[in-house]
């Protein structure tokens, strides 16, 4: 409604000009014609300064041509925007947006799931960016109702993440930066895949949570990253996003490597784990092949590739992936 | 209206022809485990009828049928010529008042509120009680000696006072037929006599028929104009107390030897237990 309001006043001002009384008879007619043409041109400009596109989730969104003020509703989007050089246009993000460090200094609109609509409105955004995986559809609906366009992004595999970045770049006028970033990321991914191509593939268990034991489903980022890093996820045949597995079944599948996400919240140390019933029976635990991976492994942002390289180095310790510029 | 000494005009209009004001004609009923055989009964306004009998003899069932609430398997109940079972509930409630053991109340009312509920059938379309309604409530509370209790909570008064409140609520309905199931159950002897005297007096002055189910044989003997004796769903006899209260029948029916003589002060039958 904010946008419509300002657009309406723009149009009204031009229409007002068209309806002002002419000063001289002949000059008056000319002035009127000129005014009318200006109105039509003005309208044309107004109409074309926004375009209606389908966002990454298939929703139809009206995007302003110049999106100067952006709000991000998910940490992954914040990261991507900074990586595309749009840090200055970001006028607001969530309480949980911590990377890069400048993101913490931006005005916060609240938590990811339940951001404050009022704070968003007060920041006067041209465009809000939300993630289908992280945000609620109700938030997007409500913002649309208030006249604030919401562009939804989505990605569930590494390839989808890369095309999502490219698409964002196109939508926000950063095509060149996006192409460059994606190319760089692709090169790093290809390098990893080439190096692990002919190596034996260790069996990998990614433990999302240990009580109850929850693994990563086949369509998650984790499965994709593990595959590209030259491993085989033992939970690939299970259905669902985060399938549960019994400890006995996991022991039976005998993973070579066990991965945990490194989270700031409570996470058990390897010593704690070995004291849990059954866990010390894992070969992976006995051979000390228990690793903590950055939690960016489940986040569709450029640092996912860092996680990929990290996982590759865990899975294939004999190979050397270090000495590379990490995007830190 | 007022202090209760006049015949209510509309009651006179309701009389359709001569004959008994209350005519219970061969009503019968069947429960899964109990049967009430056809019973008949007649009464005039101003009379107090007592229904007596051992536990399980069908007294409460008969009362329920006479109230018009329970539909009998056969027979009819006519009050002033009108079939009670054919009336819609609110019309019946204008004519028939029932006072008996109540459901457990979990909500607190004031005593006056409780009694005022009896005016419900007379409110009709209006949402609130009128001045007349309030005057009847005052009258009923006076008659039952509850005027001082008006603001007390219904859950805080004694069971005897509660029973008087239940009677008051039935009186406030201004019924033509007042039915009472064990109205003296929780009362001391003084209150027992006071209550039945009150009912007798009001039956005459307010021109209604009172039917009382009671276990108190002597109270029935003293106060009732007419007694009906039930046993196992059958009417064993009906008539004046002297006619119905006979030691042989009573001893058999109540399974304990009793003697019936005359109360010297009132001349009414008196039932006494014979010790073995």
């Amino acid at each position: 409604m904010i946008l419509r309001h300002s657009r309406q006043s723009l149009v009204q001002r031009r229409l007002g000009a068209a309806h002002s009384p002419p000063r001289r008879k002949l000059g008056g007619k000319l002035a009127r014609t000129v005014a009318l043409i200006t109105v039509f041109l003005g309208l044309a400009v107004v109409c074309h300064s926004a375009r209606r596109v389908a966002d990454q989730t298939g929703r139809s969104v009206e995007i302003p041509e110049r999106a100067e003020r952006l709000i991000s509703l998910a940490p992954s989007i914040t990261e991507t925007l900074f990586a595309l050089g749009l840090g200055d246009q970001l006028v607001g993000d969530t309480d949980y947006c911590e990377y890069p460090p400048e993101a913490r200094l931006k005005p916060h609109v609240g938590p990811v799931l339940n951001p404050s609509l009022e704070r968003i409105v007060v920041l006067k955004p041209d465009l809000v960016l939300g993630s289908r995986e992280a945000n609620r559809i109700e938030t997007a609906d409500q913002l649309e109702r208030l006249g604030i366009p919401v562009y939804g992004v989505t990605a569930q595999t590494v390839d989808e993440m890369l095309s999502s970045i490219e698409d964002l770049g196109n939508v926000l006028g950063r095509e060149a930066e996006a192409r460059r970033l994606v190319r760089e990321l692709r090169e790093r991914i290809d390098r990893v895949e080439r190096r692990v191509a002919n190596r034996p593939k260790p069996k990998v268990l990614f433990v999302v949570w240990y009580r109850p034991l929850t693994a990563a489903g086949p369509r998650s980022f984790v499965a994709d990253v593990v595959r590209r890093a030259g491993g085989v996820s033992i939970s690939d045949d299970l259905s669902g996003e985060w399938p549960r597995m019994s400890l006995e079944e996991a022991l039976r599948r005998d993973p070579d490597v066990i991965l945990f996400p490194r989270a700031e919240s409570f996470a058990p140390s390897p010593e704690d784990l070995t004291t849990l019933p059954g866990w010390k029976n894992f070969n992976a635990v006995k051979h000390h092949r228990l690793y903590f991976v950055s939690d960016t492994i489940i986040r569709p942002s450029p640092r996912l590739v860092d996680a990929l390289e990290e996982v590759a180095s865990f899975l294939h310790p004999e190979l050397d992936f270090s000495g590379r510029e990490k995007s830190r | 209206m007022g202090q209760g000494g006049r015949i209510h005009p509309s009651h006179n209009e309701q009389r359709q022809g001569a004959g008994p004001d209350l005519c219970v004609s061969r009503v019968a009923f069947r429960h899964p485990h109990f049967e009430l055989f056809p019973v008949s009964l007649e009464a005039q306004a101003g009379q107090l009828i007592a229904i007596i009998g051992p536990n399980g003899s069908g007294k409460s069932t008969l009362l329920e049928i006479v109230s018009g609430h329970l539909k009998p398997l056969g027979g009819s109940v006519r009050l002033d010529g009108v079939d009670l079972h054919g009336l819609p509930p609110h019309e019946r409630a204008k004519r028939v008042g029932l006072a008996r053991q109540e459901s457990i109340l979990l909500f607190s009312f004031e005593v006056r509120e409780f009694i005022r509920q009896g005016r419900h059938p007379h409110l009709g379309r209006s949402l609130f009680e009128s001045g007349d309604d309030e005057r009847w409530v005052d009258w009923a509370m006076q008659q039952t000696n509850l005027a001082a209790f008006a603001g007390r909570r219904i859950l805080e008064i004694s069971s005897g006072e509660f029973q008087r409140a239940v009677l008051a609520r039935a009186l406030v309905q201004r019924p033509r037929l007042l039915l009472l199931d064990e109205p003296t159950a929780n009362l001391d002897i003084g209150y027992q006599i006071e209550m039945l005297r009150l009912i007798r007096r009001l039956a005459a002055s307010e021109d209604f028929i009172a039917v009382v189910v009671t276990h108190e044989l002597n109270l029935a003997a003293e106060m009732a104009d007419f007694i009906l004796l039930l046993e196992a769903g059958r009417c064993l006899g009906q008539g004046s107390p002297a006619q119905v209260l006979e030691s042989g029948v009573l001893s058999r029916v109540f399974r304990t030897p009793v003697a019936v003589d005359r109360n010297p002060s009132s001349g009414r039958p008196r039932v006494t237990w014979i010790a073995p």
Partner: protein
């Protein structure tokens, strides 16, 4: 009886409480995630073009929400009052008959089956509420009519079963959907559209007014079903009507805002403490009192941890529990 039930008293009561509600509502408009000064709030409310953001915030975010809180609060409180009389049970509340569980299950199943039915959810939720109402009604009938005792049992059993079903479906949903639904399950007044309000206003107002016509009967019903019948109440028809109206009010409230607890249980009791048990004064008191309580609770929910929000059901529960204990001790002592 604290306030005698006369026509004049009822009108006075309604006017006083409505005035309080208006004041509370206006004050509530001054609170929210964004800090607006009182002058900005006033300008925003009047829609002045000098403060377009304030206008959007006050008129499009806060005002619908405050109105929704009023409607839902009134609906749940009145429904609770009616059900406590119908079931003759002071512990009855709108959820004891399983209606909210039915609505929740409807919304969650729709989410599971259809993927994403955010806008259609209220309809499906209401459908779930209606289905549960009908089911419990038929289960709770005895000898062809409603018996409060069996109705209560049928409702409690159905609610338990539905809760188990809800938990089962929750395990089938993706994490994101579960998080979204969790808000609704705990009571969420943030999703309110104009179409919601357009439906709610007439339904809630009509439902409450219709129940008021049964106020006399509700009084008599408190004495007992038999006693009510002997006092001339057509018990079968009256009980059915009250049951349906209370279910309708609960169903629409829950469909839009999820399950907000304690209101329907406590507001009637608080109302009785102030005006007594006569429903001719109690029903309006419960309606307006429930509206006031929920507006205050929702304002707290919006501001205590701003910019984040607490689910309003959590606020009513945290505030409601001590009130409940206080009421228990009061009645135990008296």
């Amino acid at each position: 009886m604290k306030i005698a039930a006369t026509g004049r008293n009822v009108v006075t009561l309604v006017l006083v409480l409505a005035a309080c509600l208006a004041v509370v509502g206006l004050v509530a408009l001054a609170f929210g995630g964004a800090h607006l000064s009182l002058r900005e709030v006033w300008a925003g409310l009047r829609g002045e073009s000098s403060a377009p953001e304030a206008s959007v915030i006050v008129r499009q975010i806060r005002l619908p929400r405050v109105l929704l809180a009023m409607l839902v609060g009134a609906a749940l409180a009145v429904s609770g009052t009616a059900l406590q009389a119908l079931l003759r049970n002071p512990l009855a509340d709108p959820y004891v008959l399983g209606i909210s569980s039915g609505a929740a299950l409807g919304a969650i199943v729709a989410l599971w089956v259809g993927g994403r039915v955010a806008t259609a959810s209220p309809l499906v939720a209401f459908g779930g509420a209606l289905a549960t109402t009908a089911w419990v009604y038929f289960l709770g009938r005895r000898a062809g009519r409603l018996a409060s005792y069996t109705l209560l049992l049928a409702g409690v059993v159905t609610a338990s079963f539905l809760s188990a079903a809800i938990l089962f479906v929750l395990t089938m949903l993706s994490t994101r959907d579960v998080r979204g639904v969790a808000f609704w399950l705990m009571g969420d007044l943030s999703v309110v559209t104009e179409s919601h309000l357009r439906v709610l206003v007439p339904v809630v107002v009509a439902g409450i007014v219709a129940l008021y016509f049964f106020a006399k009967d509700l009084n008599v019903l408190l004495l007992g079903e038999e006693e009510a019948a002997h006092l001339g109440v057509n018990v079968a028809w009256v009980e059915t009507a009250i049951y349906l109206l209370a279910s309708l009010l609960t169903g629409v409230a829950v469909a839009v805002s999820g399950a907000i607890g304690y209101l329907g249980l406590l507001v009637p009791h608080l109302g009785r403490m102030v005006v007594g048990s006569d429903h001719r004064t109690l029903l309006p008191t419960a309606a307006l009192g429930g509206a006031i309580v929920l507006v205050i609770s929702d304002t707290l929910a919006r501001t205590i941890v701003a910019p984040a929000e607490l689910p309003v059901g959590a606020v009513t529960a945290v505030a409601g529990a001590p009130v409940f204990i206080y009421l228990l001790r009061r009645t135990a002592g008296s």
